[in-house]
Symmetry: C2
Subunit: 363 residues, 2 copies
């Protein structure tokens, strides 16, 4: 598929008008600008982290979230950090920057894109003589642009699997807000919608953080794609009543055997898809692949605060005295995955052998 012409039109600063108008991460006037996703859908507030520690805080506190978006934000944060460190020590900046990169890498443990982007920025920085800002900014922009281009390509690949008239359910937010733009699973939905193939788009609300209700519904509505929310509880009954033919999700990490680590609830949907014969499609750029881990059981699953479950939008919902177990992600074994869609191609029923054929992400 020749997308060279389309790719020339892709810029992280310029959203298209084809159901793709949102950018969560921008480099504006020499600053990193993050759309604060904790305030959506009610308020569009922006944050401008000044250094690596502030950017790490923004990642940890979910100002920016979504595996590819975290990687891109961290790449720009390295530019901020390098600017400060070079001003502080024109000769010793690289050692100081390495410390900043460690701080960024520790912000969230599960998504592999974060460490992938940081590794790429660190390698780039190793070869720079003099002021590193220009070259590192160029590298961060490249990571951003490549992500956007990958999303467009995944959108086309994934939409190619969908039959006209199909309806889809998605989980969490995997759109422009979670990536450099366009989205992974939501990019497939954008492409399929633009192609006129989709009957209905359902979004699971995705407790506890309500990425579906707050972010996906906001993003799709804004880009003129009608969306129907369901509680996460209703997914199995939605399938039983034959209202969807696909569940389409993103991934925070895909291990060498094709196991998928993604937002809590994904595994539940995969089991339900298999039970009902509904297609289960995972859409993830190659930067999400982790060939260093044999399978998903080796991945550290982030446990988040019980308060995310016990409260909602800052308001207590649970009885006093209750505790909560709040894993942020779960592990879907590859045998439940029907299709893994990457920018480098589609794999049906992924396994170690097939995954190895995917071009590893450039470093």
């Amino acid at each position: 598929m020749d997308l060279a012409g389309k790719e020339q039109a892709i810029s992280p600063d310029m959203a298209g008008d084809d159901h793709d108008s949102i950018r969560a991460i921008q480099w504006l006037e020499n600053r990193l600008c993050l759309l604060d996703q904790r305030c959506l859908p009610f308020e569009e507030r922006y944050q401008y982290p000044a250094d690596a520690a502030a950017a790490a805080g923004a990642i940890r506190d979910m100002v920016v979230r979504g595996a590819p978006a975290i990687g891109i934000a961290a790449a720009y944060a390295v530019v901020l950090a390098a600017r400060g460190r070079y001003a502080q020590s024109p000769h010793g900046w690289r050692g100081l920057l390495a410390e900043d990169i460690r701080v960024l890498a520790a912000a969230r443990p599960t998504a592999v894109n974060l460490s992938w982007a940081l590794r790429r920025m660190e390698r780039r920085s190793a070869t720079i003589a003099g002021d590193p800002v220009g070259e590192l900014l160029e590298e961060a922009r490249r990571i951003h642009t490549e992500d956007l281009a990958a999303n467009r390509r995944m959108g086309e690949h994934g939409a190619g699997l969908i039959r006209a008239g199909d309806s889809v359910l998605t989980h969490c937010n995997t759109g422009s807000l979670a990536t450099g733009g366009y989205g992974t699973a939501l990019g497939v939905i954008r492409s399929a919608w633009r192609a006129g193939k989709l009957n209905r788009v359902f979004a699971g609300e995705t407790r506890p953080w309500l990425q579906g209700a707050r972010l996906t519904a906001w993003e799709l509505t804004r880009d003129r794609i009608p969306v129907t929310l369901i509680t996460d509880n209703a997914a199995a009954y939605l399938m039983q009543t034959q209202q969807v033919q696909w569940v389409i999700v993103g991934a925070d990490r895909v291990t060498a055997n094709g196991d998928v680590i993604n937002k809590i609830g994904t595994y539940n949907l995969a089991i339900n898809c298999r039970h009902h014969g509904v297609g289960f499609m995972v859409v993830a750029p190659c930067s999400t692949l982790d060939f260093t881990l044999d399978d998903g059981q080796a991945v550290e699953i982030e446990q988040r605060a019980a308060d995310e479950v016990l409260n909602l939008a800052g308001r207590r919902i649970a009885a006093d005295g209750a505790t909560a177990w709040n894993p942020a992600f779960d592990i879907t074994p590859s045998r439940l995955v029907d299709y893994l869609v990457t920018e480098n191609g589609v794999i049906q029923a992924p396994d170690t052998q097939q995954l190895a054929t995917l071009k590893p992400p450039s470093l």
Copy 2:
């Protein structure tokens, strides 16, 4: 099992101290007193519906909810209604009361206990000469007491299936708040806890109405049974990590073949139990059995307002422009049910033939 001794101690007005202190429905000073479950866990507010229309409103608006509790509340509402109608027309009260009963029956469509209790009250009223209040109150109290006794018996039956050290997950609220007292699935958990068998009790928060977070957590905490909440999304991962051996739920209706109509998300849990080899136990009194319907597909599934999904506790959570699909219940086919526990015995792998052996509820 001889529970006669225990049953003598059971009264709807008197909660025991064995992890069972809550009563959601009481007949107090000639009034029906309902604990307003919409205000829990933050406030214990009571409502006193004055007539059938007000009681129907309380059922529709979920002041009182839970299949057995709805039936009991409606039975007492018939007493209220009969008092008014007899005062209005000592000779024509029965015809007027029939109209009230129709209003009550229409309050919510899915739970069969409502129509079962109303039918029983109507039959009782047919044989009364003179002022019907005393005899109808006696009948309503009997329905209430029988429910409580049935719950105690189900508690013993269900707890007998649980091995020492097991952990359980429950869904929605099936406790004292949902019944005449003690509960169905939560009654089994109470009995197993009292017997020292349970390692941990998990409760799914149960979106959209959060019965798990608001009601079950309140009820268990208050009755000194520690509870850990999870989002409904986390159930599959809880099973994958082998943290529970049972999912125990109630039912709003069980059809002749053993299909279970229960709170949305139940079907999802049943599929996940089967996938993981976790036991799936349904606990329901015989008043929940509906031998008039061959299977679950014939049951009317209540669709509730989209606002329950789009808002939470009166506060908007979803993006403007989003719509929602909000079925209140789902249908679990009997082949996914490992045990159906009733007051008249336990059925393993329920089917039409086995269900027929259960004594039909007295009328």
